[in-house]
C-alpha cells in the first residue's frame, strides 16, 4: 500500500496535466472567432479567426509571435504568454500609455498582414457579417 499511494498520486498528476493539455489544445481548436467577453456588447461582428488553420497557413510555430509579454506599453517578444487571455493585460479602457484591447488586436493582426503582404487588412475582411 505504501508503494501504491505515490504511484496513484503520480498517475493522478499525469492524468490532470494531460487533461489540461488536451483541453488547451481543444480550446485552440474550437477558436473560430475573437470575441473576448471583456468587450461586452460588440459594435461589429466578431473577427473571424481559426487559430490552428491560421497558424498552419501562416507557418507559425512559435506561440510568442502573437502571445508576447511586456509591461508599461513596451512589448517583450522573448516572454511567451500563451494561455493568458489578451484582455488580462490589454484593458478595454486602459490607464496611461498601455495599449487598449481593440488596438492590440488590430495592431497584432493588421501589422503582421501588412508586413507579410498576406491576410486581411480592411474592416469587413475580418468582421464578416
Amino acid at each position: 500500500m505504501k508503494r501504491i499511494l505515490p504511484l496513484l498520486m503520480l498517475a493522478a498528476l499525469v492524468c490532470t496535466s494531460a487533461f489540461l493539455a488536451v483541453q488547451t489544445v481543444m480550446a485552440q481548436d474550437t477558436i473560430t472567432k475573437l470575441a473576448p467577453a471583456a468587450f461586452g456588447k460588440l459594435t461589429r461582428p466578431p473577427a473571424v479567426f481559426n487559430h490552428d488553420k491560421h497558424n498552419e497557413k501562416a507557418k507559425l510555430e512559435e506561440c510568442v509571435v502573437c502571445h508576447h509579454g511586456g509591461a508599461d506599453g513596451k512589448q517583450d517578444k522573448t516572454a511567451s504568454t500563451e494561455g493568458t487571455p489578451c484582455s488580462d493585460c490589454h484593458k478595454v479602457k486602459p490607464a496611461g500609455k498601455a495599449t487598449s484591447l481593440q488596438r492590440a488586436y488590430h495592431k497584432q493582426c493588421i501589422a503582421c498582414h501588412r508586413a507579410k503582404g498576406k491576410g486581411p487588412l480592411a474592416c469587413g475582411q475580418c468582421h464578416v457579417r
Binding site: T43, R44, Q102, R103, H106, K107, I110, H113, R114, G117, K118, G119, L121, A122, C123, G124, Q125, V128, R129
Partner: protein, 219 residues
C-alpha cells in the same frame, strides 16, 4: 488585393488630402487676387460684423426668407449637409483608421445612427437630382458641372453603405469606396463642391454689401 488596398489607403490618400488642402488654399488665394483686381471697391465695404450677421442668420433653418420660400429644399439641404460632414468624420470605422495610422481617437456615432444618416444623404441626392430635372427654373440653369458634383458626392456614400453591409464583393466595394472618397476630397477645390471653401466668403460679401451699402438685411 492587398497591394491595391495598401495603395489606396497610402499614397493615393496622401495625394487626395494634399490636393484638397493645397488646392483649397490656392483657390482662396487666387480668388482673393482676382477680387482685388476686378472688384477693388468691394474690399472697402467688407465688414466683419455684417459678415457674421449674415452667416449666422442663414445658418438658422427657416430664418432667412430664402429658406421660408423653399421648405422642401430647406429641410433637405440642412439634413444633407449635417449628415454629409458628420458621418465621414465621426464614423467608427473611420476613427479606427485614424487610430491605426496616427494614434488619435475621438467621439464616434453609433453605427446604426450613421447608417440612417447615410440613407438621408442618399435620399437628399435624389431630391437634388429630381429638382434639377423637374423644377423649371433649376433645370434651366443646370449644367454638366452640377451633375458631376452630385455624382461625386453620391458615390462615396453609396459605396460606403454597400461596403458596410457587405453587399456584393466586399474587397472590391471597400476599395471602390475609398477611391470614391478620395475623388471627392480632391474634387472639392476644382468643382462645384468648392462652395465648401467659398460659401462663408460669398455670404460675407453679400452681408457686407447689404449691411454697409444698402443698409438692408440679406436674409
Amino acid at each position: 488585393m492587398n497591394a491595391a488596398y495598401e495603395f489606396v489607403t497610402g499614397p493615393l490618400a496622401w495625394a487626395a488630402w494634399g490636393i484638397f488642402l493645397l488646392g483649397s488654399g490656392w483657390r482662396l488665394y487666387s480668388m482673393r487676387q482676382l477680387a482685388m483686381k476686378k472688384d477693388a471697391s468691394s474690399w472697402a465695404f467688407m465688414d466683419l460684423g455684417f459678415s457674421l450677421r449674415s452667416i449666422v442668420n442663414w445658418l438658422i433653418p427657416f430664418n432667412a426668407l430664402g429658406w421660408r420660400k423653399n421648405p422642401v429644399m430647406t429641410v433637405t439641404t440642412f439634413a444633407f449637409h449635417i449628415c454629409l460632414i458628420a458621418v465621414p468624420v465621426f464614423l467608427v470605422a473611420h476613427v479606427v483608421l485614424w487610430t491605426e495610422f496616427f494614434g488619435v481617437s475621438y467621439a464616434t456615432l453609433p453605427d446604426n445612427v450613421a447608417d440612417i444618416m447615410t440613407l438621408v444623404v442618399l435620399a437628399a441626392c435624389l431630391v437634388f437630382a429630381g429638382r434639377r430635372l423637374g423644377q423649371k427654373e433649376v433645370a434651366y440653369i443646370t449644367t454638366g458641372k452640377d451633375w458631376l458634383a452630385l455624382v461625386i458626392v453620391t458615390l462615396p456614400f453609396l459605396t460606403g453603405f454597400l461596403a458596410y453591409h457587405q453587399v456584393f464583393d466586399y474587397q472590391v466595394m471597400i476599395i471602390a469606396h475609398i477611391v470614391a472618397g478620395e475623388i471627392m476630397l480632391a474634387a472639392i477645390p476644382f468643382t462645384r463642391l468648392s462652395h465648401m471653401v467659398f460659401a462663408a466668403f460669398t455670404r460675407a460679401y453679400m452681408g457686407s454689401e447689404f449691411g454697409g451699402v444698402r443698409h438692408a438685411r440679406d436674409w
